[in-house]
């Protein structure tokens, strides 16, 4: 009944799809990490208006479906005269989305730090930025690494949604091949396995980084 040999000739396409999925997700995670810090610092910072803006941003991107956000980037931006190639648009949408989540993760990390550590740093003469850079950020990153690994895995899985807007990543490739060969089970199972391998690999990397960073 199931004949997995049908996928053999199509391996290169599936792997290429996996590559696009990985590339898009990683670009979004890395860019989202940078923006996430900005959003986190904005919302814990002293400027009221900025803090409010960051919170609104987070509420929007956390509270609406990714598909809605993708559609907005794809169709609303061109209406405003900004048109991006599909791949770039996919990265932009995923970045906007994950930066909201990563911002929240990092903000939670800030609240866990005992205030005394920052007071000692200030007392010794460190500037606000130095306290942030050398005392707070490394510890927040460290304690939030497991949550950030989870977010990376979420983004990899969510990236399947960008197939809806004409990016030929893994999911899209599987859909196309399934319908041309009439073998949906074989192709979707294969795609699923590839996603699983990728997320297992990411989880592994996360744990490796954690153990490297762990203070004894």
């Amino acid at each position: 009944m199931f004949d997995f040999s049908v996928i053999l000739p199509h391996w290169p396409q599936l792997l290429a799809g996996l590559g696009v999925c990985f590339g898009v997700s990683m670009a979004a995670i890395v860019l989202g990490f940078v923006f996430g810090w900005a959003i986190c610092l904005g919302s814990v910072g002293p400027l009221r208006a900025l803090s409010l803006a960051c919170r609104l941003y987070v509420s929007f991107f956390r509270g609406t479906p990714l598909l809605v956000q993708l559609t907005l980037v794809f169709y609303a931006l061109p209406a405003l005269g900004i048109s991006l190639p599909p791949l770039l648009a996919a990265v932009v949408a995923l970045t906007l989305n994950t930066s909201a989540f990563q911002g929240e993760i990092l903000r939670a990390g800030f609240r866990l730090l005992p205030r005394g550590q920052m007071e000692a740093a200030r007392d010794l003469g460190l500037s606000r930025w130095q306290v942030l850079r050398h005392i707070q950020m490394p510890q927040v990153f460290r304690s939030m690494l497991p949550a950030l690994t989870n977010e990376t895995i979420d983004i990899i899985k969510n990236s399947a949604l960008v197939s809806a807007v004409a990016v030929t990543e893994l999911m899209r490739t599987a859909q196309v091949l399934a319908s041309t060969t009439y073998r949906p089970i074989e192709f979707f199972v294969s795609a699923g396995l590839l996603y699983l391998l990728l997320t297992l690999f990411v989880a592994r990397c996360g744990r490796w980084l954690e153990s490297r960073l762990r203070a004894a």
Binding site: G116, A120, G125, S127, A215
Partner: protein, 260 residues
């Protein structure tokens, strides 16, 4: 003309919301003098100390360190205005504080806890900062723990690292807020010994403590705080042997009962 005083408080007041915690305190600390502050819980000891290095902003009055007003500038009109953080930090570079909870940075090895402020604040290159940090750790008897993580040390050792970290900045004034209160009884002595050495070396110190025996031995002046005011102050012989105010007498009695 320079004043002979290291720290000068003039009618300092501080409120949290509508709750006034420091109600007008004046206090002089001469160079090389050791002043201990005692008093019941909630009497405002920590708040007063934290005003001195501007971890808390005071609301009125004046705090002068080496004759320089801390935290505020005075306009020609006579108004006070809050100075920017950079200037406040600079005017407090000679003052360092040691906290009840040590407040070491757990993500850095002991040596870098001491070396980091040297690098960042004094712009000393890494190798030299580490060198100096090691010497300072030696001073508190912890050179052999230089490469350990703070979490691997006992409370007493952590507090000595915190003291070394402060000393490395070469302050002329040290503030201690209950430096031994978080320690197991058998570890109190090692920290008090380090503080006593500092007083022998002529460090100007203000120490909040519940260790009355220690206060009696090390202080030039003892200040008893009650309800945000100085209830009584004087040399330790007077404060501990011949207290005048009834509240101080009661405070000392309660303390003695607890010792037995």
């Amino acid at each position: 003309m320079s004043s002979p005083l290291a720290i000068q408080l003039r009618n300092v007041r501080k409120s949290y919301g509508s709750h006034e915690v420091i109600k007008g305190i004046s206090l002089d600390v001469a160079p090389r003098e050791v002043v201990t502050i005692i008093g019941g819980s909630g009497s405002g000891k920590s708040t007063l100390l934290r005003c001195m290095n501007f971890l808390e902003e005071y609301d009125s009055g004046e705090i002068l360190i080496d004759n320089q007003l801390i935290g505020y500038g005075i306009r020609v009109t006579g108004d006070y205005h809050r100075l920017p953080g950079r200037i406040v930090r600079d005017s407090l570079r000679d003052v360092c504080m040691v906290f009840q909870q040590f407040n070491l940075w757990p993500h850095l090895p002991v040596i870098d806890n001491v070396a980091l402020p040297l690098r960042l604040v004094k712009d000393i290159p890494v190798a030299e900062a580490r060198e100096r940090a090691r010497a300072q750790l030696e001073h508190v008897g912890l050179a052999h723990k230089a490469d350990a993580w703070p979490g691997q040390l006992s409370g007493g050792q952590q507090q000595r690292v915190a003291i070394a970290r402060a000393l490395a900045m070469q302050p002329r004034i040290m503030l201690f807020d209950e430096p031994t209160s978080a320690l197991d009884p058998e570890l109190v002595g090692e920290v008090l010994n380090v503080i006593r050495t500092l007083s022998d070396e002529g460090m100007t110190m203000v120490i909040v403590t519940h260790e009355m025996g220690f206060a009696a031995k090390v202080s030039d002046k003892v200040v008893f705080l009650a309800d945000g005011l100085i209830e009584e102050q004087g040399p330790p012989e007077q404060i501990f042997a011949a207290p005048q105010s009834p509240r101080l007498r009661q405070f000392l009695n309660t303390w003695r009962e607890r010792q037995n």
